[in-house]
């Protein structure tokens, strides 16, 4: 079986005006859908970050992809992920996920690897998780992912959307947003995007969530490095009960040294809330130093930038070996990415937390998966009884996404510029802000 064609589809999908310490989500998020067709007429698909750069990087590999066996391509391209030994610092504290030049090669590799696995799975009639060593669970738990946000549901012009959640810029409206999301999807844990309001308001938000949902629902807060060490310790102390029951404090502050200091001070006070990260540890090269400092107790995997599904499995084994927890990071995505995340999570024994997902923020109007949105039931996505990733493309919807990409003026993600454009012309990302 050989690959006879590579097709890359840049698409734009409406994205609500979500807030974070990076700024504001633009009216459209960009994604790239990849198709690999085999000489048997089977098509394997994947989804990754969208930008002109990402499409260019994929197209640059065309000569190595077309004519290759999907079984051998990961090996042939392995230098794209194997460059990462110990040493090089790849912190993403400033670079938005998908825009960090240091992980451009692992991002591109991952998109190819997933499409190859889907192609193989569809050819031999096996779900992708079984190609990765076999599932250890039939369904994968995801977390609700509440954001402070402006009103509205994204899109522009006649494509602009209303939004079932509305504005949330206070603890009370955030709690309401979570309750809506939990009622709709059945999530059993909550990852709250902080770093937007004053820390005291975010502490209050977590406290209200804890009262509203009860101690059996694990809570996490992720201010995307918006805080000083001092503020991080203060928040960790104030929320020791609320985050300590199966939750974590994610990237409160920037850099491994600062994370270590927060950890050291919290532990000295008897507070063992784990610190999680997807910016201080974003590649294998970051792990030795993080282990040495005990800077990060939970790593957020993400096959999109860690270099694919097998690299996430390696990461999980490493995390288990060093007594580090494993969770999963998410960016704005559609159902193809959701299924890739679900398959690797299903085939990864050491997944110690429910995965993040932005999926509730997207809508059926933008889904490119045939048959519509992937169901999340009781907070979980099930591995479907279908080969490959278990989803196929809806080519009409894909064409709509491409059209929207052609029309909209976004060509890369820039939350800071969007914040200036729509909220505050003088806004700047400041780390630490508080």
């Amino acid at each position: 079986m050989l690959i006879t064609d590579l097709r890359t589809h840049p698409i734009a999908i409406a994205d609500p005006p979500l807030r974070s310490s990076y700024g504001l989500h633009a009216a459209y998020a960009l994604r790239t859908i990849v198709e690999l067709e085999s000489d048997e007429g089977v098509v394997g698909i994947s989804e990754t970050y969208g930008s002109e750069g990402q499409v260019r990087q994929l197209e640059a590999l065309r000569g190595r992809i077309v004519g290759a066996s999907p079984y051998r391509l990961s090996g042939l391209l392995s230098s794209m992920v194997e460059g990462q030994g110990a040493g090089a610092e790849r912190s993403q504290n400033y670079a938005l996920p998908g825009e960090n030049p240091l992980d451009a090669t692992t991002r591109t590799y991952a998109a190819i690897e997933v499409a190859c696995l889907d192609l193989i799975g569809k050819t031999v009639g096996q779900p992708v998780c079984e190609l990765l060593g076999g599932r250890v669970r039939d369904e994968v738990p995801f977390s609700a992912y509440p954001f402070f946000k402006q009103a509205g549901g994204g899109g522009q012009g006649e494509d602009s959307r209303t939004d079932e959640y509305g504005e949330a810029l206070s603890p009370e409206t955030l709690v309401r947003q979570v309750q809506q999301m939990v009622a709709k999807y059945g999530f059993g844990s909550i990852k709250f995007k902080g770093g937007v309001l004053e820390p005291d308001l975010e502490i209050e938000t977590i406290k209200q969530l804890y009262r509203a949902l009860g101690p059996q629902v694990p809570l996490r807060i992720d201010p995307n490095s918006a805080w000083t060490v001092e503020t991080s310790v203060r928040v960790g102390r104030a929320l020791s009960e609320e985050l300590g029951r199966g939750g974590y404090l994610e990237d409160p502050t920037a850099g491994l040294e600062n994370m270590r200091e927060v950890r050291r001070r919290l532990v000295a006070e008897g507070i063992r809330t784990p610190l999680a990260s997807n910016v201080a540890v974003t590649s294998f090269a970051d792990i030795p130093r993080s282990v040495q400092l005990d800077a990060v107790q939970v790593i957020l995997s993400d096959h999109h930038y860690w270099g694919g599904l097998r690299q996430v499995q390696h990461l999980a084994r490493m995390a288990k070996t060093f007594s580090i927890g494993l969770s999963m990071h998410s960016n704005t995505h559609l159902g193809v990415s959701l299924m890739a995340m679900t398959h690797v999570a299903a085939a990864t024994p050491h997944l110690t937390y429910a995965c993040d997902t932005h999926y509730p923020w997207q809508s059926a109007e933008d889904e490119v998966v045939l048959g519509g949105r992937v169901p999340i039931v009781n907070g979980c996505v099930r591995i479907p009884d279908k080969p490959g990733l278990g989803v196929e493309l809806d080519y009409d919807q894909l064409a709509r996404g491409r059209e929207r990409y052609a029309k909209c003026h976004y060509r890369k993600r820039d939350d800071e510029a969007e914040m200036r454009r729509r909220i505050d012309p003088n806004w700047k990302r400041i780390l630490p802000r508080w």
Copy 2:
């Protein structure tokens, strides 16, 4: 595709009287050949340690294996390899490989995983290395593995063998043995089993090898923990030139603390010969402490006891991440194991040394692979252009191996007892001896 039958074949193969710090190889080595048959009539095979215990452990899984999908079995049995987090010490300093109760589950799991991968590969027409993410090399380099030995080639009674290498109990005869082996197989590196003669004689042996083969042939010595820290440092110092050119000093002394001390003292003298191990680090649980101490700079992988091919890939990624080299350990084996070793090595980018193999010590009369012995050319084994492991069973030869097992009195490996029986009735394994 479902598995309809499990067949386990205990076999005995003639083994020359090789010496090590464990004692003496018995006249027969025991192996177990595993067959998994699918409902499509395809048979997947593997080879592992032989002993009554090993066969029993495999047979105990029959109820979970028969009726399962080979794609899902590794996942279903994953608790057998996932038990190993940080913590539990699994040192094999005293237990012979294959006889350590602490890795009984990972050994058994590995035998099943390899047979499943062979079954899948033979079903879909792909070599096993491509099922593991794809080869990064078409051929895998192995090392010559010279031993001090008594005369003779193993076997008993009318099955007793002559041996092309003869006795080797001096530096000169060992060098001759290596030259014969290099001439026959083209090996480009040498792993010398020490711990048998006085350290000064083993230093002299390495020095003669270095003079005979030249500095371009990497040399390793493995005394199986026979030395004190003091002696280890003395040998490391005496052989800094000879082992320092791409070779290593393997398990000179027992335990991570002692290995650390040897390393510390050699580095203080400016000698950076890496220390390798397959007894101080034999499972993921050993790695954090080894990293912390910088006790081991090269880990010897071995899919037979690390828990299969995928676990070796995880190990390799971990080793690369922590700037640790990766080599491969070997026990007495036939062609099925050799091919499993070759496939995982082919699909493992971070393999930084030629692999060990005992294969030259076995003979065509015992090979169970159809068509006879797997060729080693220019020191390398090539991935054949065939599905699965690339080898099939010769059922007549398998029957002969079973018959020999039934006749011989060995039921587990015990080199110490064999040493007492055939060489010195008062012999005891003493660590450290020198």
